[in-house]
């Protein structure tokens, strides 16, 4: 078609540039009027050649001469063919939807930006951001951009489709035909190029081999392109397949980001290489620092369980001044060894029945862990009473050492009993006709059946051969004992009743006298009895007075009475009244006159404010303080050869006296063997370690010893119940037939995770979870 057939439209009118709107209207009008060949003499007008849809399917040719403005062919239609006869400004083919645009020169920035269909052929180089945001719509052929030279910077940013071809002929940047940072954000399309490049966004795009199909397509369309720009002569130059390269967008699945060195590789090849073997602190420590799991076994446990069997005392045993291992006896009961349970007590006391079964306020029961949970303590009196049948173990043969025991009461008999069991020879002296001290002489028969006491006294006699009764001793005789005996134990008790110095004090009967005589019914209390001093002995007086016929019994005290337990209960049952505070002014024929002037009528007034020891007969080498003999922790007096126990040392319970006897005997045995053994007193177990939930709190009394044994939590001593084996989530605990008691529970450290469930479940409080102090592996 010759130039003359073109409909000419000038961008000037009357020598003045017309605005883009007017030129656009002119072009649109010409097309509407049927013009299909247009030549536009442009003067920088915007958007020339786009939107020529009014021609329908008929091709429209637009030739642009002069200075084409920005965005020629923008929003172009497939029917449109635009030929720009010189260089072009920015955004050629912007949002092109099908037009073919030829630029016979270089093109500016933004070429083909957002183009979706059509072709842009450039006969030179292009500026920055060419082929950016291009699309590919499946309904149409992909858009194409052909560049003869090189692309400017940021080529193909966010390219989402289409094909770009960069031929690299007479490039503006021959060392880098793709420009700086091409294909950032590219998600679709491909780019053929010829010539060197300086990198592209490998996170978004990848270089791929040119397939035969690709090559066929390139060659075929290259001809079209070269024809369009009138450079057919380059065909040979551009037909060297080896010179071409192809870049395509990565698929979303391929977008793995910039390949990075793994940290493991960095550590091995960079970090440790620079710092040395073991990294930053490899020179300072050899501790294994390799990762460990959160839940660990063996030495990596933070805490480890320990089977602390018998490491702590049960509260009952701890509370017992005699030191009887009460829980041990219940264990034997549970194991069906009732005889052993009974016999065991004799190792500790010669009076298991008399004291534990009848006379003791049973401190063990008061201390019982079960009280903490408002549960009934295990009833030890049942076991005590059964002890009447306890059998003495085989006694050791005599060592030849002789120990004199002055006083045959509970303290003296206890120390003699223990000394004999240790293989030495005790010799007991007492002034009374009957051994047993106050148990025999003073304590009412209502509280201790005579046959029980006598049986136990007989048992003692079988063990302690030498008991000399009715044998008063003075200081000289005591002194003389020192030469005949290795040691002397003073245990003469407290037999000097205390009296208050009020007028008429001679009218008062001492409790000691009253009780001694009442044992043989040798005193008549009359109808009305006033007892000054409302302690337990006062209660015994009240009970006995009632038994002997008294009707009105009053106990008075200067403070709230300290009496407790069975004595108090029995006195109250006898109808005795307790009054306090009452201060005695005098004792008259009428009775007790109080400082208030009130008279408490009495046929007999009993004074019961305690007894003091008689220390007059003691050798001078024995120090007496405040009326009591001064001793050290071993009950040794200031004379190392003389010990003192019982009420001579401090007023106490029968069990205190018996316990003191045990301790003194142990001390003497130590001395005979060389020297005192260091004390190995164990701590009492923490109540919180014991778990009573296994026991029924509604058990209020115990039928027999078996019932007692089953309900005892065995604080501090393993019950051998195997609960720990069952609870351990790791099956790390097992029972082993070894150890002192014939069994022990052991932990497999390689299974245990240190959860402490064993400690949490143990009814006896044996297991403890302690910090793992083992060194690191």
């Amino acid at each position: 078609m010759s130039q003359d057939n073109y409909h000419r439209i000038s961008g000037k009118k009357d020598g003045i540039r017309i605005e883009s709107r007017i030129l656009e209207e002119t072009i649109q009008a010409a097309v509407e009027q049927g013009e299909r060949f247009l030549e536009v003499d442009a003067f920088g007008q915007h958007g020339i050649g786009g939107r020529l849809w009014k021609a329908g399917d008929e091709p429209v040719h637009v030739r642009v001469i002069g200075h084409v403005g920005q965005r020629p062919g923008s929003l172009g239609f497939p029917n449109t063919q635009i030929e720009i006869m010189g260089p072009a400004s920015d955004d050629v083919g912007w949002l092109n939807a099908g037009a073919r645009i030829v630029v016979h020169g270089n093109a500016g920035n933004g070429l083909a930006n957002a183009m979706a269909q059509g072709k842009v052929y450039v006969a030179g180089n292009i500026g920055a951001r060419g082929m950016t945001m291009t699309k590919s719509n499946p309904r149409f052929d992909p858009p194409e951009v052909w560049v003869l030279g090189s692309a400017g910077d940021y080529f193909g940013e966010f390219m989402a489709g289409g094909i770009a071809v960069v031929c690299g002929v007479d490039s503006q940047t021959p060392d880098n035909v793709l420009g700086y940072r091409p294909f950032v954000g590219m998600v679709g399309g491909k780019v053929f190029f010829r010539g060197p490049h300086k990198g592209f966004s490998t996170a978004d795009a990848k270089q791929i081999p040119i397939s035969d199909d690709d090559w066929q397509w390139l060659r075929k369309n290259l001809e079209t392109y070269l024809d369009a720009i009138g450079r057919r002569e380059l065909m040979d130059t551009l037909s060297d397949r080896e010179a071409w390269q192809l870049i395509a967008a990565r698929t979303p699945q391929e977008k793995t980001g910039v390949p990075k060195r793994s940290m493991t590789s960095f550590r091995a090849d960079v970090w440790d290489r620079e710092l040395g073997n073991g990294g930053m602190i490899g020179d300072l420590t050899t501790i294994d620092r390799s990762p460990v799991p959160v839940i660990t076994t063996g030495d990596l446990r933070r805490f480890v369980p320990v089977w602390e069997n018998k490491q702590y005392l049960a509260p009952c045993q701890h509370a017992c001044p005699t030191g009887i291992p009460v829980q041990e006896r219940w264990r034997l009961i549970r194991e069906g060894k009732a005889d052993e349970a009974v016999d065991l007590a004799l190792e500790y006391t010669p009076f298991p029945a008399t004291v534990c079964g009848y006379l003791c306020p049973n401190l063990c029961m008061r201390a019982c862990t079960r009280n903490q949970a408002l549960m009934q303590p295990i009833d030890v009196t049942k076991l005590g009473q059964a002890s009447i049948n306890a059998k003495m173990p085989q006694l050791p043969s005599s060592s030849g050492h002789k120990i004199a025991v002055v006083g045959g009461g509970p303290a003296g008999l206890s120390v003699a009993w223990q000394i004999r069991q240790q293989g030495h020879d005790p010799v007991v002296y007492d002034t009374a006709k009957k051994a047993g001290g106050k148990i025999s002489a003073v304590i009412p028969q209502s509280r201790i059946p005579a046959d029980v006491l006598d049986a136990e006294l007989d048992r003692i006699k079988n063990v302690v051969d030498h008991v000399h009764l009715s044998q008063p001793m003075d200081r000289q005789e005591i002194e003389a004992l020192k030469t005949d005996y290795d040691y002397i134990v003073m245990a003469t008790g407290a037999w000097k009743p205390r009296i208050i110095p009020v007028p008429g004090k001679e009218r008062m009967v001492t409790a000691l006298d009253f009780l001694t005589r009442s044992k043989t019914d040798g005193i008549g209390p009359g109808r009305r009895v006033v007892i000054i001093g409302a302690g337990n002995v006062g209660c015994d007086v009240a009970t006995e007075a009632h038994r002997l016929g008294a009707e009105e019994i009053t106990l008075i005290d200067v403070q709230e009475p300290a009496s407790f337990g069975k004595e108090r209960e029995e006195a109250e049952a006898a109808g005795a009244k307790f009054r306090w505070p009452c201060f005695t002014k005098e004792v008259t024929e009428e009775g007790v006159v109080l400082t208030t002037g009130e008279v408490l009528p009495a046929d007999i007034v009993v004074i019961s404010i305690g007894d003091a020891p008689d220390t007059d007969f003691l050798p001078e080498s024995v120090t007496v303080e405040n009326g009591f003999v001064k001793v050290n922790d071993h009950f040794q007096t200031s004379d190392p050869q003389i010990f003192a126990i019982g009420d001579m040392v401090r007023p106490g319970l029968l069990t205190d006296a018996i316990g003191a006897g045990r301790k003194a005997a142990a001390a003497i045995a130590d001395l005979l063997a060389g020297a005192f053994e260091p004390a190995t007193e164990r701590d009492v177990i923490d109540f919180n370690r014991v778990h009573l939930e296994y026991f029924d709190p509604r058990v209020t009394d115990f039928d027999d010893t078996m019932a007692c044994g089953s309900q005892c939590s065995s604080c501090g001593s393993c019950r051998d119940c195997g609960l720990c084996v069952a609870i351990c989530p790791q099956a790390a605990i097992s029972r082993s037939e070894s150890g002192e008691d014939g069994f022990e529970y052991v932990v497999d450290d390689n299974l245990c995770i240190g959860c402490g469930f064993c400690a949490g479940a143990c009814p006896c409080g044996i297991w403890a979870l302690v910090e793992n102090t083992e060194p690191q592996p």
Partner: protein, 544 residues
Amino acid sequence: MPTNGRITPSTLSIKDLPWQIAWDKEKCTLCGRCAAVCPVRTLELGVFRKRVVNTDITVSQASTSTMSVYHGIRQQTNPATACVGCGMCSLVCPNDAILPLRCDEADKLVYHVNQGGAPRRRGGRRNIPGGLLDRIKFIRISMLTDPALDAGRHEFELRTLLGRILSPEENLAHLKENGWIPPVREIYPLIIGGMSFGALSPTMWEGLQMGVAYLNEELNMPVRMCTGEGGCPPRLLRSRFLQYVILQIASGYFGWDEIIHAIPEMKVDPCAVEIKYGQGAKPGDGGLLMWYKVNKLIAAIRGVPTGVSLPSPPTHQTKYSIEEAVAKMIQSMYMAWGFRVPVYPKISASSTSLAVLNNLTRNDYAAALAVDGEDGGTGAAYNVSMNTMGHPIASNIRDCYLNLVKLGKQNEIPLFAGGGIGKTGNLAANAAALIMLGASGVQTGKYIMQAAAGCLGSETDRCNICNVGLCPKGITSQDPRLYRRLDPEDVAQRIVDVFVSFDIELKKIVAPLGRSTSLPIGMSDALGIDDPAAAERLDIKYVV
């Protein structure tokens, strides 16, 4: 055993505790893991009674009561072993049967944490959630005005300068007269703030350093980490990685003789020296590394015998005035590396910050000023110091910057802000806000512990037991049984993740401002806040 004993004033019930263990008997398999992992050993196996009363209303038979026993998990209630809410029990529970929950009622434990007259000490951060930084918005979004940039597409050089930047005239004069100009480092604007070797476990510390080295050498991000006060491992001192390290000197001077001995053998200079005068978490208070934490490793690095307590007094001992305190220390530390290494002080944010800053402006050696705000974290401090002492960072850094503006010295003494940056996870936004308020860069510690190592601590008083060395994640423990839970490689990888994602977010914020090669330091016209008083105080826009 359910105690029926007497109560004491500090006898608490579960209801009184801030953290309550919800345990599901149905789901529990009694595997023991929760009890094994509990750092404070509050969890234990409980033995429970279950009583059933079997009634017979017809009275044809007597009603009976039967008792059975079951086992389960219970929490202890005494203050010493009360649950800290760390949630490790939930982490290890195979059946999701256990979870610490916050009490819906006011905490009563708080009244009993001072047993024996010892006020509460803990690790972590102010127990006051939130803060002003999260309320600052970036309101300047350029679309057509400034050259709008695309964070994903454009290239950014997010760098800041650490060092005294003198005016060209002054620089020339310095060079001419002294033959010396102050050294300046171009570094990444997010610095890992000072956390000592000792406060942190060896695995954590090595992981952080490794991550920093990776960022520098593999990703070309010049990230720097401050040692905190606890010295620096000898090998690190003699490696090229030292250039990524800011060595801290503080009132205890621990580890400095080891550093001095290493100077002749150093391959590179350290990035800088930070002189710590104060810490945002516990302003005006010192520190004490307890003797039982001073094991062989820590002792070697700090240059002390094992098993001795290491006090860092609240103040440096040989300084008696601000002139001395600043000038003397800065001079001394410059001399160590032949005046090639920038030296700057770090103070806790305070109403006296400006006095320090003004002093620094008169000292050409002062390389920067780091200011640590009240929301800073620590491994151990008195609760009262942490909760109530200190100054918010935003207004303090703003005052400092505007003061420099008044003096015409803005950006000549770079300001570094710390304390609570990223407190609620908004690391980049908080950092950008502080930069636009005038900071040249920010320091962060707690965020790093949370993001890079899974620290469980929170401002609602979760965990926060760093001070006793029982960190269940192994971050602040010196017990290998605990710190071996942490793999340094994982920490390093998370550090990389944190910085790379921070970088993207920071770009998202600064790109609309048209900034790609210089940080918008002091560009406060980009900031707005929905509180008129705060807006006025910070001299930024009030927006509603």
